[in-house]
């Protein structure tokens, strides 16, 4: 697991649902990372503005991320920074990728919406709503064949609940008894569309049940609940009973960086942001005496320093060289596509 080397506090993943301190720490890291992504954009250092922050959705990322183990695979949607970080990603390389830099996870080619890391089983974030879902069916087939008890998890938003491909995928997973989990992060919005404006059937887990999967909905306020519900579904999935989990949460900010959510009433935002899994965990830790406030303050400070470091790392990193443009269209060793210039040079040289 690649974690920030100098930060002892973040070295170990949470071991149990009762390790609220560890779960809090991981959620805080996601929150702070996302805030720094926002800052990267404001400083004009991000590759574009299509950056989708997962603030408000940390319990889904960490509840699931803390349960994944080596051999498990997953795909995410376009709002997947938190999931990847919770799974153990290096924030420096993530931030560099978001800046479109050479040292990013995908050499600056993918960016925020196409981050991936085979080392951690991240089969890729996706800019196509629903685009990453069916891959877990295939990955689940491979896991089943390998027989090591690995699972494959698809993360997607409530918007993807209206894509047909989800149902094709869930049906196949159930039909073939695959070790697969479908996780819908229901932040209530798909761009400006509230879920009520996108569907009449809002008991999302029933759709999965209708196809023969385990199906649950969990409130994302308390990360322990998310983790416990996910744990049960994952245990079953590892045995070949695929599942579906909807995590209820709220998208705290606009869809992407340019969206100020003019379509949401202030009250909607106030109520939505009151469901803050990070603050909830913090209050719980203080409330039951697990961690004094100043311990949490210093943890938060450490995390801030870590994520500031990610920004510095990304800004200092280089743009990918132009020569890398033709690389990785095909496998290493195969001929790269011929540049337009080369072709034209050859034609014009004939005169």
């Amino acid at each position: 697991m690649t974690r920030h080397a100098t930060d002892a506090a973040v070295a170990e993943p949470p071991r149990s649902n009762s390790d609220l301190f560890g779960l809090y720490r991981d959620m805080r890291r996601v929150r702070t990372f996302e805030e720094r992504v926002g800052e990267l954009f404001v400083r004009g250092q991000s590759a574009g503005s299509m950056l989708h922050l997962s603030i408000g959705e940390e319990s889904a990322a960490v509840g699931l991320g803390s349960l994944m183990r080596k051999g498990d695979t997953f795909t995410t949607h376009h709002r997947g920074h938190g999931i990847f970080l919770a799974r153990g990603a290096d924030p420096n390389r993530m931030m560099a990728e978001i800046a479109g830099k050479e040292t990013g996870y995908c050499s600056g080619k993918g960016g925020s919406m196409h981050i991936a890391d085979m080392g951690l089983g991240h089969l890729g974030a996706n800019a196509i709503v629903g685009g990453g879902i069916p891959a877990v069916v295939g990955a689940g087939l491979a896991s089943k064949r390998a027989g090591e008890g690995d699972v494959s998890i698809a993360f997607f938003g409530d918007g993807a609940m209206q894509q047909g491909i989800l149902y094709e995928s869930m049906n196949m997973a159930a039909l073939w008894d695959l070790p697969v989990l479908f996780v819908c992060i229901n932040n209530q919005y798909g761009m400006g569309t509230r879920i009520e404006q996108a569907t009449k059937g809002r008991a999302l887990h029933l759709r999965a049940q209708a196809l023969g999967l385990n199906g649950e909905t969990v409130d994302g306020l308390d990360v322990r609940d998310v983790r416990a519900t996910a744990q049960a579904l994952l245990d079953d999935a590892r045995l070949g009973h695929p599942g579906f989990l909807a995590v209820e949460c709220y998208r705290f900010f606009g869809h992407a960086r340019m969206d100020k959510s003019p379509y949401r009433a202030e009250q909607d935002e106030t109520e939505g942001r009151a469901k803050d899994p990070v603050r909830f965990a913090r209050d719980a830790l203080i409330g039951d005496g697990t961690a004094p406030e100043d311990t949490l303050d210093s943890l938060d400070k450490e995390i801030e320093a870590e994520m500031d470091g990610a920004i510095d790392f990304a800004i200092a990193a280089k743009q990918p060289p132009l020569s890398s443009m033709f690389r990785d269209v095909y496998a290493v060793g195969e001929a790269e596509p011929e540049p337009v210039r080369t072709r034209i040079d050859r034609i014009l040289a004939k005169d």
Binding site: G48, S49, G108, G110, G164, T193, Q197, T199, Y263, Q319
Partner: protein
């Protein structure tokens, strides 16, 4: 004359069409309350109401398929795909249904729908949100294809598309929405299906469309200062293709180049170059050169993205070498 943006012109076209004919309606993701991902339909929901601006779930194949059915049932749908990159998801509805219904059913019925979408590079939007996929459409018999490059054409081509008896795919360019030009929308414009000669010269014919028109015009202006005069043809619609205009100019000038943002191999530029080479063979003094997108996906990195498609400097350099 009024100054307006490409985006405003598109909105005005929709407004005028909806006002004139109540069969016209818009459907797509975020087209209503939100006003469109790129702001094209802003205000129309308030003006025309929820029955005429249908916000859809994120269900692209059904959006396009529903438009097909609505058109067959007598409405005039303007379906919207937020990015042309999603066209693959809808290709059955578009290519197997919309495009073939008139033919398969022996001419009994047509599918007069418009599929509005946008494509191209320019926003660091990455590999799945930056493509130029017009070749998919041009390769499908039965579909019309319009790609406006100017503010006036944003208006007139969309109005024209809404008068067609057959399905039209209407591809805007994401880098053009803020383009501002002085326009007189009542001034005469070339008919639907006619190309526009944006500049005329004797040294080289450059055939282009969509945003590359602006790159080409910039190159042509610079070349003019060096004494080279270029004819620039803006196709406006790729189907119908106004080959007569291309032929006349190429036969007169004897040298041709095609500029397109789509990838080079088996792309629109390939089709145009082949046709010019075949039909104008006896008049050509140089091979027809294609300046097109590289045969690679688009990176999120600004530097790589910019250089994946023809830049004005590249267009100019190649044009100069062709004329030298």
């Amino acid at each position: 004359m009024t100054e307006m943006t490409y985006r405003d012109a598109l909105r005005q076209a929709l407004r005028d069409a909806m006002t004139e004919d109540d069969r016209v309606f818009v459907m797509g993701e975020e087209v209503g309350r939100y006003g469109g991902a790129y702001g094209v339909t802003k205000g129309l929901y308030e003006e025309f109401g929820a029955d005429r601006l249908l916000d859809t779930p994120i269900s692209e194949p059904a959006i396009v398929g529903a438009a097909v059915g609505a058109a067959m049932a007598g409405l005039i749908p303007v379906a919207e795909l937020m990015y042309v990159d999603f066209i693959g998801m809808t290709m059955d509805q578009l290519g197997n249904q919309a495009a073939k219904i008139r033919y398969m059913f022996g001419g009994q019925i047509g599918v007069p729908m418009v599929l509005r979408t946008q494509g191209g590079t320019g926003r660091s939007a990455g590999a799945q949100h930056s493509q130029s996929l017009e070749a998919y459409v041009m390769h499908t018999p039965g579909l019309r294809l319009a790609m406006p490059a100017t503010v006036a054409d944003a208006y007139h081509l969309l109005r024209g598309a809404l008068r067609q008896p057959d399905p039209v795919v209407f591809i805007e360019h994401k880098a053009l929405y803020t383009l501002k030009e002085e326009v007189d929308l009542s001034a005469p414009v070339p008919d639907w299906g006619k190309a526009a000669i944006r500049r005329q010269g004797d040294d080289l014919v450059i055939v282009t469309y969509s945003r590359q028109l602006h790159h080409v015009m910039k190159a042509a202006e610079e070349l003019s200062r060096e004494g080279f005069e270029v004819t620039v043809i803006d196709l406006r619609t790729l189907n119908p293709l106004d080959f007569d205009t291309i032929r006349t100019e190429v036969e007169r000038v004897g040298k041709a180049m095609v500029v397109s943002e789509g990838v080079m191999t088996a792309g629109v530029a390939a089709e145009l170059a082949a046709r010019i080479s075949e039909e104008c063979f006896d008049y050509l003094r140089e091979p027809v050169i294609r300046v097109a997108g590289e045969d690679i996906p688009i990176s999120v990195s600004v530097e790589l993205e910019t250089n994946s498609v023809p830049t004005p400097a590249f267009v100019r350099e190649i044009a100069e070498r062709v004329m030298a």
